[in-house]
């Protein structure tokens, strides 16, 4: 009997151990990247007693590392003035965590979303608090262009305040390398192609493109196609395309893909050939710009990419030109993105937090730290650390034609699904008509 008992216990122990160890990694992915109440600790430092009733506002975002530090610094004055701390939680799988928590009835007070598509999804679920009575709408209309206000609204209600912007229509280059070879910054698509041909003739590789991005692989290609679409078909057709009022098989859409393919599918144009384009991580892809001799000469990517430049690269090593005009009729529009702040629990702390983030101050604090441009028009231009950033911020806040990253506005099944897959397959050599038909099929199903 004692022996049997021993075996039962042993089995139980092993089973429990196995269960625990198999559970552990799952919990880790969800809850480990938590930066715990950094600002709360700061409140304690300045010996402001934190009243338990209005202690902390919980925030779920995607920022980690230096981005989180910059955001924490932006919130510091708020904590000092109001005594309300911030508990910021980072998750790379934000959509997953957020939806699960909303369903479990345990959402964070505030979420900072990198895409308006998720804002719409959450608004549809009834998970968001309308902000019309929380922020001063008259002031907000002065601070943000209508394009940004529309992007934070759904079904006639304002649900989000835009905090961090990004300008996407940029081509990065190494001015020293350009000077050495006597290359000129192109101002039209034809000039850009001519320059690319010349670089190939000189034995170089004109472009660095990297589409790999883990579970999000393919997105950098969607930015290319959107930028081209804005320049070949204009903003109205672009909107129709984003809203699926024209099919993916439309000639305007097809043309944009073909122009993208003219560069991305040209083995001589791209660093590492098409396999390099498919395999290279977007963050690593600009590195060959700074090799000697340069591995490539141009890289089309949003403003954030400077954060990924290799160490030792200084502001003199790179410069930027606007992604050039293709059809003169549509000029040089701006494609961009941003992070939107939404409210999921209507608490006094969350209200105060939203009001604070709608003011210029936190924007200016982060701006001074670099790697940040704001869509907020009240932000002092002198807050930006250098001319290059100021230039971008100005383009972003004042662009006549500004369009948000289309793939972020499409239903996720298309914008974060078949569009990404289509880009990967097209660059991988798949027939364009087949690619577009596949996306069209998923779009017919996803738009309702």
């Amino acid at each position: 009997m004692a022996r049997r008992m021993y075996w039962i216990l042993l089995t139980a122990t092993v089973v429990a151990g196995l269960l625990l160890s198999s559970c552990a990694p799952q919990t880790v992915t969800v809850t480990v990247p938590v930066e715990k109440q950094v600002t709360v600790e700061r409140t304690v430092e300045v010996t402001v007693p934190v009243p338990t009733s209005r202690g902390v506002v919980t925030v779920l975002g995607v920022w980690g590392g230096s981005e989180f530090e910059a955001f924490a610094a932006s919130v510091e004055p708020f904590t000092k003035e109001t005594g309300i701390g911030m508990a910021f939680e980072t998750s790379r799988e934000q959509a997953t965590v957020l939806v699960t928590r909303v369903q479990a009835g345990n959402p964070p007070d505030i979420a900072i979303l990198p895409q308006p598509g998720l804002l719409v999804d959450l608004a549809k679920m009834g998970a968001l608090v309308p902000l019309e009575n929380i922020v001063d709408m008259d002031q907000l209309k002065k601070d943000y262009s209508q394009a940004w206000i529309d992007l934070g609204s759904y079904d006639g209600h304002l649900y989000g305040i835009w905090f961090k912007g990004a300008l996407k229509s940029l081509v990065w280059y190494n001015p020293k390398a350009f000077q050495e070879k006597g290359y000129q910054v192109p101002t039209t698509w034809d000039e850009m192609i001519a320059l690319s041909d010349r670089i190939v003739a000189d034995g170089g590789t004109p472009w660095c493109i990297g589409l790999e991005s883990g579970a999000a692989s393919g997105w950098p290609g969607t930015d290319w196609i959107e930028d081209i679409m804005l320049r070949t078909a204009g903003p109205e057709v672009y909107d129709q395309w984003v809203n699926h009022e024209i099919p993916w098989t439309d000639s305007a859409v097809k043309r944009a893909w073909e122009l993208f393919g003219q560069i991305a599918r040209n083995e001589q144009y791209v660093w590492g050939g098409t396999t390099g384009v498919l395999s290279t991580n977007f963050g690593d892809s600009p590195r060959p710009l700074f090799d000697t001799p340069p591995g490539c000469y141009m890289h089309r990517q949003a403003s954030f990419i400077t954060g990924f430049f290799p160490e030792g690269v200084t502001a003199e090593d790179y410069d930027v030109f606007a992604f050039p005009s293709i059809d003169p009729q549509w000029g040089v529009p701006a494609l961009g993105a941003g992070d939107v702040v939404v409210m999921l629990n209507d608490t006094p702390e969350a209200r105060a937090f939203i009001q604070y983030l709608a003011s210029p101050r936190p924007h200016e604090i982060w701006a001074a730290r670099g790697g940040f441009i704001s869509p907020h028009r009240g932000v002092d231009p002198n807050a930006y650390p250098d001319e290059l950033t100021r230039k971008q911020a100005q383009i972003l806040a004042s662009a006549e034609v500004f369009r948000f990253d289309g793939s972020d506005l499409m239903p996720a099944a298309v914008g974060a699904g078949s569009f990404w897959t289509g880009v990967m397959d097209y660059v991988g050599g798949k027939d364009l008509d087949a690619v577009l038909q596949a996306i069209e099929k998923s779009a017919q199903d996803a738009y309702k």
Partner: protein
């Protein structure tokens, strides 16, 4: 650092509570049963032991399964009844066809290679003096989580153009042999095989350990008798060893097949189903958490469950048949 220490502490605490809790539960139950009349004790004891498990399984397994079944007949926000629409999509969409094809590939290749290699290794190491070392090395990948292993293999498969130094092990070998570097994860000719190779690497150790135990249980006399009768080692392997551990092989193969059907982590980390590498479970995750289509995700889950049930049933039936012989 303190973060790390607190994690270690939490883990240790979890193990202590988990293991201690189970031990405590059984001791407590035994204690309580002791108060019952002697005659009732044997009748109550099995229920006392199995009761907590039944309860937990009911809450965490049976209820969610039924709920998933229910959700699979509703639309993407679980608001309206849509009949069999989600199932129709699951069975007809091109994305799902690719996933079904790949899962079949996973089942065939991963089972064949994991079990085959595991068996070969188990037989071979049985005859050498450094058996435990060899087995430990091959068993080692089992200690790594699927995600961890995928991250390791990401480096193995890394691609750099031909004219720059390779950082990926495989392409470094290829270029050292004057070959052209290959995009292992994006080239549709090899990427599915590259993913399945990671699965095989992870599963072979498990197969080997179980099969090795099976081989050890074959009485020496039988093998010796076969040798005395003049059977070659080859013939002994096929006509003595394999039939005698047949049931073990079946159990191991079943486990690997189920793992192949559930394949997710490797695909999610390495390709997320791009370039024709989609699998059922990854598609389910996408529909659920990326596209927020609860109906379809649930339908896929139900189909996956239905695919696994016959394998489980066959396994249980086989097990029962064996018990009957014994």
């Amino acid at each position: 650092m303190s973060e790390f220490l607190s994690q270690v502490f939490t883990t240790l605490l979890a193990i202590l509570l988990g293991v201690g809790g189970v031990v405590g539960l059984f001791l407590g139950m035994e204690f309580l049963i002791g108060f019952l009349p002697q005659r009732l004790q044997p009748k109550v004891r099995p229920w006392a032991y199995i009761g907590p498990t039944l309860l937990i399984m009911g809450i965490y397994l049976v209820y969610p399964t039924l709920h998933t079944l229910y959700l699979s007949f509703l639309d993407e926000r679980s608001q309206q009844f849509v009949g069999l629409k989600n199932y129709l999509w699951t069975l007809t969409s091109p994305e799902m066809h690719i996933a079904f094809r790949n899962n079949l590939l996973w089942i065939v290749l991963m089972t064949l290679f994991s079990v085959g290699l595991g068996l070969v290794i188990a037989v071979l190491v049985d005859r050498v003096s450094y058996e435990s070392v060899a087995k430990s090395v091959i068993f080692l990948p089992m200690a790594i989580s699927f995600v961890g292993a995928s991250v390791i293999w990401r480096f193995v498969y890394a691609f750099k153009p031909a004219n720059v130094p390779q950082i990926g092990l495989l392409n470094a070998i290829v270029t050292a042999l004057d070959g052209q570097p290959l995009g292992w994860l994006v080239d549709t000719r090899v990427n599915n095989l590259a993913l399945i190779a990671v699965g095989i690497w992870l599963q072979t150790g498990f197969c080997m350990v179980i099969l090795s135990a099976g081989i050890k249980s074959i009485p020496r006399e039988i093998l010796e008798a076969a040798r005395v009768d003049g059977a070659s080692e080859w013939r002994i392997f096929w006509q003595v060893i394999v039939p005698m551990i047949g049931s073990t092989i079946a159990v191991v193969a079943t486990t690997v097949i189920i793992n192949a059907l559930k394949a997710f982590d490797i695909v999610f980390v390495l390709t997320n189903g791009q370039r024709g590498t989609e699998v059922i479970a990854n598609r389910m995750y996408k529909e659920m958490f990326s596209f927020l289509n609860f109906g379809r995700a649930s339908a896929i889950a139900v189909i996956l469950l239905l695919a696994i049930i016959p394998i489980m049933a066959a396994n249980i039936r086989r097990f029962q048949a064996q018990e009957a012989i014994r």
